[in-house]
């Protein structure tokens, strides 16, 4: 018992020492900042600025937890006097909230407030001075480009997750038993590392309206001897050409997650199905896929959320022209020109994304259990 108390005392003293050290450093930093020379030096040195930010950030976090706990334990509910036992219990009930408060505050400031703020802004006109109620929304409803964007967005939200998940599942299953499967997987996964704008650039070349550059037109010329066309101007179908870029990027994501899920299937259930007479296709669709259904749903909804936010591909490839407009690029059209309409579109996007996100989280939680 005595030994235990000693070690506790020692760690307490160590803890105190660390706190004092950090406190001292912060104090020195604060005093230094008051000196104009130091401020001037900082202004010229991004590295020093970075270091200072880290020190202030980390120190601030530690300082917050330390100080708030001290206040709680020593001032509000001191563990002494008549109510010592009761106070300890109360302090322990409050403590989790101290830890959760910074995250709550940050989320509130950077997530909840902008949502409310955007909504309020969307109720005002272009100038931001005149309250027009749901006027912006009403205008959107009758705008043909908005209708087009909603329709295209629905197409995107259906086709891209389906395509990515399907190709990912097939790739996961097919590469699983191959000796060079891991190389194949790396190749399929690689587009994940490319930014959407970068990917769009690559595909601009693929779709280039010139048989000497674009592989699509080169293929058309080689097989059919056809003249070059611009695939991005082929009405309606150009949407799918754009979607294919995102499928190309996201298949790797789906493949990696589903491959792990497939490996988690007990081998004996597959063998039992083989003994039961199931063909390879039946084993795949009746035994394997149902067992990873939860994971498939999570992958599907995760990609759906991503799709509803995608903007870069359309913006870089067509700029929303030729009937390829989607909501985020449509929103961008109004940004800096009519913040009322832009925030209204943003709010519509949020309304669409939220239910998918909720479902995704519920499914992911189920998976974890």
């Amino acid at each position: 018992m005595a030994v235990q108390e000693d070690t506790q005392g020692a760690s307490f003293i160590q803890g105190q020492a660390v706190i004092w050290l950090i406190g001292g450093l912060l104090l020195v930093a604060a005093i230094a900042l008051l000196l104009p020379d130091v401020r001037g030096m900082l202004g010229n040195s991004p590295i020093l600025q970075g270091v200072l930010t880290i020190v202030l950030g980390v120190g601030g976090c530690i300082g917050y937890f330390w100080a708030s706990n001290i206040v709680l334990d020593k001032v509000i509910f001191p563990a002494k006097g008549a109510n010592a036992g009761k106070n300890i219990n109360r302090a322990n009930m409050v403590r989790p909230w101290l830890f959760i408060f910074p995250a709550f505050a940050a989320l509130g400031l950077y997530l909840a407030y902008p949502v409310v703020g955007s909504f309020i802004r969307s109720l005002y006109d272009r100038s931001g001075d005149t309250f027009i109620g749901f006027g912006n929304y009403a205008w959107l409803m009758q705008d043909s480009e908005f209708q087009q964007a909603v329709f295209n967005n629905i197409l995107w939200a259906l086709v891209v997750p389906a395509g990515s998940t399907f190709f990912g599942l097939v790739a996961a299953q097919l590469t699983d038993r191959l000796s060079w499967g891991n190389i194949a997987k790396s190749l399929i996964f690689m587009p994940m590392a490319i930014s959407f704008v970068g990917a769009s650039l690559i595909w601009k070349f693929v779709y280039a309206n010139d048989a000497d550059i674009g592989i699509v037109n080169a293929f058309r010329e080689w097989v059919f001897g056809a003249d070059s066309v611009d695939p991005l101007q082929v009405s309606f179908w150009n949407n799918f050409f754009l979607m294919f870029i995102l499928i190309w990027i996201q298949t790797g994501f789906a493949m990696v997650i589903l491959s792990a899920a497939l490996r988690g299937i007990p081998e004996e259930t597959v063998e039992a199905a083989i003994v039961d007479g199931a063909s390879p296709l039946q084993v795949f669709f009746k035994i394997k896929v149902p067992q990873i259904m939860g994971t498939i749903v999570v992958v599907w909804t995760t990609i759906t959320i991503l799709v509803l936010k995608v903007f870069d591909i359309v913006y870089t490839m067509t700029g929303g022209n030729f009937g390829t407009q989607i909501l985020p690029s449509y929103m961008f059209e109004f940004m800096f020109r009519d913040d009322g309409r832009a925030t209204a579109v943003a709010f519509v996007i949020m309304l669409i994304v939220t239910p998918v996100m909720v479902w995704n989280i519920i499914q992911a939680r189920k998976e974890m259990r």
Partner: protein, 372 residues
């Protein structure tokens, strides 16, 4: 409803690693054959080869006179019960049992009849709508068995089906399997286990697998026989020690008189001990091992005894008392005697042991004199 014939069956992994070699075995219709052997001896592999889940690298496997080496599992007329049950987790008990018939495109009525009959036989009727995760271990095992019954196979294959159950359930399920076998006298069953009690109680014949010297230490069949044949007349030291628990004591000794019965003198004994195993005149003076099962050892006061030693450990189990004797230097296994009843205060005593001549085994170079 089928007989199996294994001829020179072998298993080679990657073209180099030989695991099983020269497996020759005839299984008659209605038998329940149990494969036993040390871990890693390939008993499960052999079962999976019969099932068709592993390629047969050499030799032939016949079911009902037809070579099935290259016939897919589902067409061999076999059904398999896996160690982990291997139930389809996303299907109800009913669908688990119906799956094979659905794949075979049987009519709905036929499937329903078969599933309900099997469920009735295994007392699963009230669980038909449940998912496997809502069942206990014993119930899952019964579903796995039901899944095989529904297919009405020629041969049932069991791969350590009870090893995931707790001790009490294991005994109960073992008895259920024995009763099931009685209800289906025509079905052939092959059963892999490492549990001796399962082997002894269920088997019509036991197949002991071991790495044999004259087979280049590849695993092969050491002995095939009814449980009591293996117990009473093991053909080798390995089988003798593998069947029975605790294992048979082996004492070094010498043959001093040959004939219809053999007289032996052991190194740690005095006087002689007689065995009913016959020997030839040229065996006179041969160095052998005298095998006495712990339960056959008898304490004696006579000056003729096979072993004498101080009791080091005494285990009182109530029905029997196990005595562990210290043995001379360089000998690892203790000599063990299993005396019926309770014998308090034996520890530290010096006890002399002998045995009934009918129960004394003789091994020369690892092989029983009975089988040379």
């Amino acid at each position: 409803m089928a007989n199996l014939k294994l001829k020179d069956v072998a298993k080679v992994y990657g073209g180099q690693v030989e695991v099983l070699k020269d497996i020759d075995l005839d299984i008659e219709t209605g038998e329940l054959i149990v494969f036993v052997g040390p871990s890693g001896c390939g008993k499960s592999t052999l079962l999976r080869m019969i099932a068709g889940l592993e390629q047969i690298s050499g030799g032939t496997l016949e079911i009902d006179g037809m070579v099935v080496n290259d016939v897919p599992p589902s067409e061999r007329g076999i059904a398999m019960v896996f160690q982990s049950y291997a139930l389809y987790p996303h299907m109800t008990v009913y669908d688990n049992m119906a799956f094979a018939l659905q794949i075979a495109k049987k009519s709905k009525e036929e499937i329903d009849r078969a599933v309900r009959a099997a469920a009735d036989k295994l007392q699963l009727t009230e669980y038909l709508d449940r998912l496997p995760k809502a069942l206990s271990g014993g119930q899952r095992q019964r579903v796995a068995i039901g899944r095989s019954i529904v297919r009405d196979p020629k041969v049932y294959l069991f791969d350590e089906p009870l090893s995931n159950l707790d001790a009490a359930l294991r005994v109960a399920t073992r008895i259920e399997i024995a009763q099931l076998k009685e209800q289906m006298p025509d079905s052939t069953m092959i059963y892999v286990t490492h549990d001796q009690v399962e082997a002894m109680t269920l088997a019509s014949r036991i197949v002991v697998l071991d790495a044999l010297k004259d087979n280049g230490y590849k695993y092969s069949i050491a002995q095939v026989g009814t449980p009591l044949e293996l117990y009473e007349t093991p053909n080798s030291e390995f089988v003798a020690r593998f069947i029975g628990s605790p294992a048979m004591n082996l004492l070094e000794g010498e043959i001093v008189a040959t004939g219809e019965t053999t007289t032996l003198r052991t190194r740690l004994g005095a006087g002689t001990i007689t065995s009913n195993v016959p020997s030839r005149p040229e065996d006179q003076g041969a160095q052998v091992k005298v095998g006495i099962r712990p339960e056959d050892a008898v304490a004696t006061d006579s000056e003729d005894f096979a072993f004498s030693g101080k009791v080091e450990v005494e285990e009182r189990l109530g029905e029997v008392t196990l005595l562990y004797f210290e043995r001379g230097a360089g000998q690892n296994d203790p000599v063990i005697a299993k005396l019926p009843g309770i014998h308090p205060g034996m520890r530290g005593n010096t006890v002399k042991l002998t045995a009934d001549p009918a129960k004394v085994h003789i091994f020369q170079d690892g092989t029983s004199l009975l089988y040379r």
